[in-house]
Amino acid sequence: MEIRVNAKGLQCPGPLLQLSNAVKSAQAGDRVLIEVSDFGFKKDIDKWCKKTGNTLISLDEKDSILSAVVEVVRKA
């Protein structure tokens, strides 16, 4: 399953909370696609995935929007 989260316009900690909630409600193997306009998220998501054991599949930047794809490895 792919879960899409629009966290544009949200400032820290909004995007991270949204990601965390989405991952919590997902199953292992699901993918969460999140779009964020807060660039502080770049470092946060990397660290968060490492600490929680989820996989950061991609992190792209286009037109000042970050899109990240996280694969749920285990429930965070």
């Binding site: 544009k8 820290c12 900690p13 909370l17 306009s37 968060w48």
Partner: protein, 553 residues
Amino acid sequence: MMRILVIGGVAAGTKAAAKLRRELPSSVITVVTSDRHVSYAGCGLPYFIGGIIKEERELVVKAPRLFKEENGIEILTLHQAVRIEPEAKKVEVIDLEKQVHKVFDYDLLVISTGASPFVPRMEGIDLDGIQVLRTIDDAREIRDRVDQNAARQALVVGGGFIGLEVAENLVHRGIPTTLVEFQPQILPGYDLEMALIAENHLVEKGLRLIKNRKVVAFEGDPLGKVQNAKLDGGEVLAADLAVWATGVRPNVELARSCGIVIGPTGAIQVDERMETNIPGIFAVGDCAENQHLLLDRPVWFPMGSTANKAGRIVGINASGGSKRMPGLLGTNIVKLFDLNAARTGLSTREALEAGFDIETVLVPANDKAHYYPGYRNVNTKLIADRKTHRVLGGQIIGEGVVDKPIDILVTAISFGATVEDLTTLDLAYAPPFSMAMSSLITAANVLENKLTGKVQGILPTELFERMEGGEDFQIVDLRSEPEFIIGTIEGALHIPLTELSSRIGELDPARETVLLCKYGKRSYLGARELTHAGFEKVEILEGGLLLYPYETV
């Protein structure tokens, strides 16, 4: 007819000459300069090495031929002035190409001999591949090595803005680069916690940074090409290109030897009109001193910004005017990869050394409205006099726009603004440009809160040092669960702000308590709550975890 001679033809000299021409249309103006190039943008040299500026000619503001045709100014390149005779009003000049001596008579003399890189004598310093960066030829030399793949490992010595800009451009060209700085921080004139933000960014971008070390010698191969640098700790660094950038010294010997007074900074002493102790002889640019706007003493800030402004002032004054150069604030700005850094006025250390009782603040914010895509973080440090609340200095670092707020700050400090004045400035706002509460106003607001005792703060550097020294703190992380997971300060207790009142019993009101969150906003709210509840000493971690430059767990 009035004869004007200008010695040195880069920024200050050509500016003064051009202004003199406009003020005194019928004078004869001659510029002698020892370099091959005149009127070039020294500030652009690092970007020429990086290939961002493609061709040499783009760096030259104006060629000698055009000075002649458009301004009627004679520029003699490869002409070095060797002696000034103030009584006879003569200058002896060597034509370096033809190796002949020439004598020039003058009615007015402008000395704009600039500054030169300072390189201490040491073993191996003359080896091939060790460079300074001051002139177009220097830049060409470095760029050629890079273009010809002759630089596989680079070393930059010195973490001032020139060293940093060179290092950035070498990394940009794909060359593994190490920067050695002998102080405990890069970016002199910036406070430690600000410099650490820049250091972490540079390291993230691939620069290898070594601090607290001096380069003491170089070793070469049998062909005389540099191979290694030796550090004072005994370490050996491989390098086939080394750029020495530990600072510049004013070129004052010519002036000194004819009786012109050299000031306490080592540069030529001038009055407010930029005239030396010898009437009719002016000095300007990197070779001359200036007054500090806030301190009652001369300073030496060798900057292109000053050279240009002061050059024009000399042009006015040498032609009989009386325009003052009131003083400088040591403003500068630098781009380091994705980070921008700017400073003005007094740093914390400079303010303390000058005897001020100060209050400071460090506040993260954004450069534009948070709902407008493309906004970036900017972090503002302000330094103010505790008694008068006058703003004394500031530093701004971030990926966002820093030039605007620093220039506002320069303006405010120049006109004697207080912290309260800053908080109410009618600044321009629309989402694509700024925040409704601009980063500078937000910082001033927090500083006002600190000055009036509403909140106390602790800098990350102070917290770190005191913890290292074994001092006891009760550190409370007020962020949400997912943020806490990312990492926090070792030993921090996790109590989200929303749970603080219900869990206040877990905390000891007698211990020194430091609150932290990502930016400082939640800490501020928490601090109000704990102080209200009777906690003895509550501080917020200034800059939050965002600007905490050390390891987290």
